[in-house]
């Protein structure tokens, strides 16, 4: 029996699929046992997690720093909004999610080809320009993209089969906010399985080789440009999917939702959680989602005014970042992992 289990674990795919199944069970348990408001927050955590997962692969595994992932989320969100502008003529949700991912992927490929020629801070600069410019496109094409006001998204009704399955498993009726949370988390699990497999495969090893020493990698026969563009494309596809989930959760795609702050928040989530770790990306997304709201709540309970409590949230987030960087320089998950390995090495 143990031998059988070990054989399963030794297969990367089987291991990841099993983990995904466990994750799905956890998601169902959590979403079913929490309030509608928390469901909404989990939907936010899901899209932040997807985007952060994509970014952590790009930055952690391939060593490219992107400050423009907010812009790619915007592209995904706007694609979704354009496809879901009408209740009646809307294509199935799966098609919408795939379309948003594909459109972003194509644009990401274009940017990736340009970015692959750049190094270090220059990639950051180029993607930074993108983060600033893309929201401006929505303002320029006010007629089709809605300008400052943005486009509202008609979230499709919960399909009957999904409602039936959900009722069969959980015994609860499903609300639209819970439906969106499920979509977000299922997307996240699928994305993470794919990313985890990719990073453990030959492609992932190539990425790491390019990150660690590009000359050595090239000598070993790796096409640097191709590896970089591929990493960039995979990462932007994740951002596109995250944008699509965002559009569903927020029911709106507006330029003010995709400012530079979003791109930086994603990066800070990745750094907080631990570069290159998918679990770290998830931890970072959780911090980003829950910390401000919880801190504001604590501030209000402690008798602070609304204004002070609102200002407390960015303060605590900043302090948390500083503490993590000082005490756990490899990020929360990264440092925990190192400590774990050390302890094992001693015993």
């Amino acid at each position: 029996m143990t031998e059988f289990a070990q054989r399963i674990w030794s297969s990367t795919l089987a291991r990841h699929v099993l983990l995904a199944a466990a994750g799905l069970v956890a998601v169902i348990l959590v979403l079913e046992s929490t309030s509608a408001f928390r469901n909404g927050q989990f939907a936010v955590m899901a899209y932040m997690g997807i985007a952060a997962g994509g970014l952590t692969v790009l930055t952690g595994l391939n060593g490219q720093l992107s400050l423009g992932h907010g812009a790619f989320m915007a592209i995904g969100a706007y694609t979704t909004a354009l496809l879901l502008s009408d209740w009646d003529s809307a294509p199935p949700l799966l098609v919408v999610l795939l379309a948003a991912t594909l459109v972003t992927l194509v644009i990401g490929a274009g940017v990736g080809v340009a970015a692959a020629r750049l190094h270090g801070p220059y990639i950051a600069g180029a993607t930074l320009a993108l983060a600033i410019a893309v929201p401006g496109i929505a303002l320029y094409f006010q007629g089709t993209l809605g300008g400052e006001q943005g486009l509202t998204v008609a979230v499709p009704a919960v399909p009957d089969w999904f409602a039936d399955v959900a009722y069969f498993i959980t015994g609860n009726d499903i609300s639209s906010s819970k439906y969106v949370a499920y979509i977000g988390w299922i997307s996240l699990i699928v994305t993470f399985v794919l990313l985890a497999n990719l990073s453990r495969s030959r492609v992932g090893r190539t990425w790491r080789a390019v990150r660690d020493d590009d000359v050595a990698a090239e000598l070993a026969g790796i096409n640097l440009g191709r590896a970089r563009v591929l990493a960039f494309v995979v990462s932007t596809a994740c951002a596109g999917l995250a944008g699509a989930v965002l559009a569903l959760a927020v029911r709106l795609a507006a330029p003010s939702g995709f400012t530079l702050v979003l791109s930086l928040a994603l990066l800070s989530a990745v750094v907080l959680g631990g570069l290159g770790s998918l679990l770290g990306a998830l931890v970072g997304a959780a911090l980003l989602t829950f910390l401000p709201q919880v801190v504001t709540g604590i501030g209000l309970d402690a008798g602070l005014s609304d204004l002070q409590a609102a200002e407390l949230a960015p303060l605590v987030y900043g302090l948390t970042t500083m503490l993590v960087v000082i005490l756990a320089p490899a990020g929360i998950v990264g440092t925990a992992r190192i400590a774990w390995r050390k302890r094992r090495a001693h015993t």
Binding site: A5, Q6, S10, G40, Q142, T152, V250, D306
Partner: protein, 444 residues
Amino acid sequence: MRTWSRRVTVFTSVLTAGAVLAACGAGGRPDDSEGGSADVVGVTEDSIKIGAHFPLTGVAAPGYSEIPSGHKAYYEYVNANGGIHGRKIEFVVRDDAYNPTQTSQVTNELVLSDEIFAMVGGLGTPTHSAVVDFLNGEKVPDLFVSSGSLQWGDDVESKPYTFGWQPDYETEGKIVGQWVKQNMPDARVGLFLQDDDFGEDGEKGLRQYLDKQIVATERYTSGNTDVAPQIAALQAADVDVVLGFNTPSYTALTQLTAKKLNFDPKWFYSNVGSDPELVGSLLARFSEGAVKDGSSLLDGVLTTEYIPGVDTPDDPWMELWQQVWDEHGGDAKLTNYRVYGMSQAYTFVQALQAAGPNPTREGIVEAIEQAGTEFDGPALAPFRYSGDSHMGISGLRVSELKDGKADPLTPVLVTDIGDTPITEDNSGAGNDSPPEDGIPDPIS
């Protein structure tokens, strides 16, 4: 291999622990309140909970973050005097940093977690558009949106729970347009507009009267602080008067840029962009101290008014607001933004009175539709609320700024969207004064 199984164990236990923790964090009974009884969400025997989203942090915070403090001060005043129908009003404010994504999150929190009875005064056009469908879908009264966009009141069928409050920008544009046409018939007119509903609705009103006189139309995108190209274009078109539908920061920016370019037309700013005190302090800040007495720089600037403000301390409404602020406001100064908040709060209390001793969500909407035009309040012109229209205050007056004070140039003018003619207000809404105790009486 053993490494992996161990690592997996850790992963699963972290996940489970996380799940358990998150489940604890949810805080109990999600569905209980919807069970059998006829309870109204947010209303108990002795309290009523309302809330709204405001920008308390971020670029839009200066000025706007003061509005909820006005609301709070007035509700505390009402509570200290026994509340409404024995209920104390609790006002929950959530920060959205003027970012629609966050507005959506905090509105979820207000409706689903705080379980508010109604949203009162949610601020901003792009921000509130993100949640207006959700609020109407959940049948949460969405009262007195802090924005003059037409969309809060002109489509009652699709947004039955949403009500505007301040005069919409089209109405303001019409009144400004007519005044300019009558008083400056030969002037070459230039427009300076924010590139969204605000500028668009305003322009629609202005063009009804000034289509032939307008020689230049310039737009700016909120957030881009360089307005030199727009001002230079207006200067090149040789305009005599600039009509600005812009926010306070852009009033300061246009004034400074025009000074630099030696451009000196007559300026006319919509109500939103003309608070002399805020613009004055912004001028001082943007010019890095070069402009000291900012508000005097605005001498001779034209604008509009629809509620009495801090420049008229002898107005009976201002006396009430001052008293309320002194008693419940804290140490900061009373500003026009706080007065705006208190005026909105007054209208909400009126609506609550009208909804009777057992308010329901449908009931308060009906009450405003039925009695809304009768609400006496600080507004200079009456509200337009009815079963067909949820538009707010119906008019305003044109005035000129002198030493930071508004000097009225016209009587209160009222109109409506579309081609409704502009008339002088004869309802007397501008002359009423608050009741003795400062709390609106139930309408009989």
